[in-house]
Amino acid sequence: MGGLSLGEKHFIQGGIAQDLRCDGRKRLAYRPIYVETGVIPQANGSARVRMGATDVIASVKAELGKPSLLQPDKGKVSIYIDCSSTAEPAFEGRGGDELATELSVALQRCLLGGKSGAGAGIDLSSLIVVEGKICWDLYIDGLVVSSDGNLLDALGASIKAALSNTGIPRVQVAAGTANDEQPEVDVSDEEFLQFDTSGVPVIVTLTKVGRHYIVDATSEEESQMSSAVSISVNRQGHICGITKRGGAALDPSIILDMISVAKHVSEQVINKLDSEIASAEAQEES
């Protein structure tokens, strides 16, 4: 966002300092979140999340694959984000790749945990079909359709909603195959297993503008930020991942302060999101 005049910049900064932002929100208030599930019928699960003018779609596709040698008892999950040029003309061609990679990596860090798979928001051992031989590979694809700031939180919310919308087909494994052979499987197209998404964290991004920090910044506000810290928190209030973006350095005590604020805000966000997901699913069924 380069087209802001000096007056506009001061207005945004002054508003944040006085706890009254341009759209009338307080510093720690989110925009209303709208969730729609099942938007991509071809996928195993999908959701569209809108927060103000930010609009993202996430889809989950499950494919049978082979678990890695190091973790024979775990399935695999990968997250890819794509920034559509509909969101911003600057994303044309390869222009959106840098942001897309930044978002993908941040989401992987926040949702998938470490290399060992420990601490992942998604229970990877529930994706195993035959230990060491067959597992489900989950491909989570996010698409940014329209961007007005706070993409990471919106993408995190859409992935959570898409996962709770996901049905993994039940798999029957043919008995009596030799140990070293690849067992034959029968994928059911009627029975689906629902995913337990209660452990999937939400992401709260605190954007620092001037001396204060705000949640759910719009792109105008993001253009004035000095740095932003994204914290993913699960339902138990545990921190699952932290990413800091932006150039300016932060005092360690401020970061700790931000974390405790994020923890507090996340409770409201999780409750809001859960009720939105539940009503979206109810609407889809009716």
């Binding site: 889809s59 596709k61 040029s85 509909t86 003309p89 694809d141 359709v145 961007s147």
Partner: protein
């Protein structure tokens, strides 16, 4: 394979001359100057228009008329099998070009000299006829952006399988290998702006298939007109006129 049953029904239960259900929505991307979602059955595309605005790359500026650009991209999840890195392959470049040329023909570019209009189309779901759906979505988005046009372009495809002309092919019928005619018309001027066909077809049959596609385009045109009218009425209501 049998694409038309003896009872005269197609694989998805349609009659040969029946179109899939179409749905359009204006204003899907609030940050863009104009935008629309267009659905034809399971095919779903979003179009966003930015402009008319200052030319970003000065060397491309044209002093007599507007510069029209178009980018077509497919989402990773848009097809049945997941695919990676869809941007910039030959197929999307070709479709971008087709959409650009088609839209350029109907925009009154000479009224907007030294400016640039960007059309971005994003396929969310592909089930045959993405080309047509993209053009229809782009028309709506251009109209939403208030860009002067001669007429709007509407597009529809038709094919010929099992000795029957079929309107609006879906993915299975499209990949059957029969002829696939994609047609774009200017409904008010009654002129053809886009015409593409692959594989061979006797001329007299082509005439039938083409007529069918024109009927399809006209049906879409009347729907698009309805949607635009409704949108304008709503705008009027909001302004309190």
């Amino acid at each position: 394979m049998e694409f038309v049953s003896p009872e005269g029904l197609r694989l998805d239960g349609r009659r040969p001359m029946e179109m899939r259900q179409i749905r359009a929505e204006i204003g899907a991307v609030s940050k863009a100057d104009g935008s629309a979602i267009f659905e034809m059955g399971n095919t779903k595309v979003i179009a966003a228009v930015y402009g008319p605005r200052e030319v970003q790359n000065r060397s491309q500026q044209i002093s007599s008329h507007a510069l029209v650009r178009c980018e077509y991209s497919m989402a990773n999840f848009s097809t049945g099998d997941r695919m990676r890195k869809p941007k910039g392959d030959r197929r999307s470049t070709e479709i971008s070009l087709v959409i650009r040329q088609t839209m350029e023909a109907c925009i009154l570019t000479h009224l907007l000299p030294r400016s640039q209009i960007d059309i971005y189309v994003q396929v969310l779901q592909a089930d045959g006829g993405t080309r047509s759906a993209c053009i229809n979505a782009a028309t709506l988005a251009l109209a939403d952006a208030g860009i002067p046009m001669r007429d709007f372009v509407t597009s529809c495809s038709a094919g010929y399988l099992n000795s029957t002309p079929l309107l609006d092919l879906n993915y299975v019928e499209d990949s059957a290998g029969g002829p696939d005619v994609t047609l774009g018309i200017l409904p008010k001027l009654d002129k053809v702006t886009l015409f593409q066909m692959d594989s061979k077809l006797p001329i007299d049959i082509l005439e039938n298939v083409m007529q069918l596609a024109i009927e399809g385009c006209k049906a879409i045109a009347s729907y698009i007109r309805e949607i635009l009218l409704e949108n304008t009425n709503q705008l009027e209501y909001r302004r309190g006129v």
